[in-house]
């Protein structure tokens, strides 16, 4: 399994990578929306899940979500928003745009791992 981790915070990327390592999953990282779409175009056949921050410079995570979910090539790749935007209106907007799951920061490693497995349809008894 391979995760595309998109977040402008290196701290968050490291936390997610460490959690993915425990689950024996590979990660590819992007620090903004533009880099995320570049990585996706190069590796979309290998990527099983996109973990996407909302507030990023250059191109927001929401805009990346819209790009993914309106693309004939990428739309089937599940996307989980990982964000501080925890208000109901933001969650509804993300779900309407096609987000498959939603995790609010701050999160524990256990919460993150459970959500990743849920998105991938895997058993959470890891």
């Amino acid at each position: 399994m391979k995760l595309l981790v998109v977040d402008d915070s290196s701290a968050i990327r490291k936390i997610i990578k460490a959690a993915a390592d425990v689950l024996q999953m590979d990660t590819v990282e992007a620090q903004d929306g533009i880099e995320a779409l570049e990585k996706l175009s190069e590796q979309y056949k290998e990527i099983d899940l996109v973990l996407l921050d909302w507030n990023m410079p250059e191109m927001s995570g929401f805009d990346v979500l819209v790009e993914i979910k309106t693309s004939d090539i990428y739309r089937e790749i599940p996307v989980m928003m990982v964000t501080t935007e925890s208000q109901k209106s933001s969650i509804v907007a993300a779900v309407r745009a096609g987000a498959d799951n939603y995790l609010t920061k701050p999160f524990t490693v256990d919460e993150l791992q459970s959500k990743i497995l849920e998105c991938l349809g895997e058993d959470s008894d890891f």
Partner: protein
């Protein structure tokens, strides 16, 4: 709509920071509204909270505290923590604290949107204000970790 004072508003942010740090690191910070004797730090992160009742939130700390916190969160030895790592973590703490407080304040008049946090680094930094500005100030400590949180609305 719930009405809250500026002191209560500051405490919402302080409590949000406590919750954020505990959730990501397991470290429980104690909150005090009293200033410590030496209220000087190495780095400050500030975020503009945009809105009709917007303001500013500042979180400051020293490198030693941030290194300890970074190590606890990322699981890396303190010797491997860089200045970029510490500043990035501080920005993320501000981001998560502002996001968490935003939800806690959703039934009040304080509605705002988050912005990109900015870092200010220097020697013996302190934050003060003119008398008419409502500045709240809290110190948060636990063992080797000490931080200060200030809000202006």
């Amino acid at each position: 709509m719930r009405v809250i004072s500026s002191d209560e508003l500051g405490f919402v942010f302080a409590q949000s920071l406590v919750d954020v740090v505990e959730k990501v690191s397991g470290i429980r910070l104690d909150v005090s509204s009293a200033e410590k004797d030496s209220d000087f730090d190495d780095v400050v992160c500030v975020m503009n909270l945009n809105g009709d009742k917007g303001g500013l939130v500042f979180i400051s700390s020293c490198d030693a505290s941030l290194r300890t916190l970074c190590s606890a969160i990322e699981g890396s030895p303190e010797s491997e923590i860089s200045m970029d790592d510490m500043e990035d973590l501080l920005c993320e703490l501000v981001n998560m604290t502002a996001g968490s407080a935003k939800l806690s304040l959703s039934d009040t008049e304080y509605h705002y949107s988050l912005s990109s946090p900015l870092i200010i680094r220097g020697n013996n930094l302190s934050i003060s204000s003119k008398k008419r500005v409502r500045l709240t100030s809290h110190t948060l400590c636990s063992g080797a970790v000490s931080m200060r949180l200030k809000t202006v609305f």
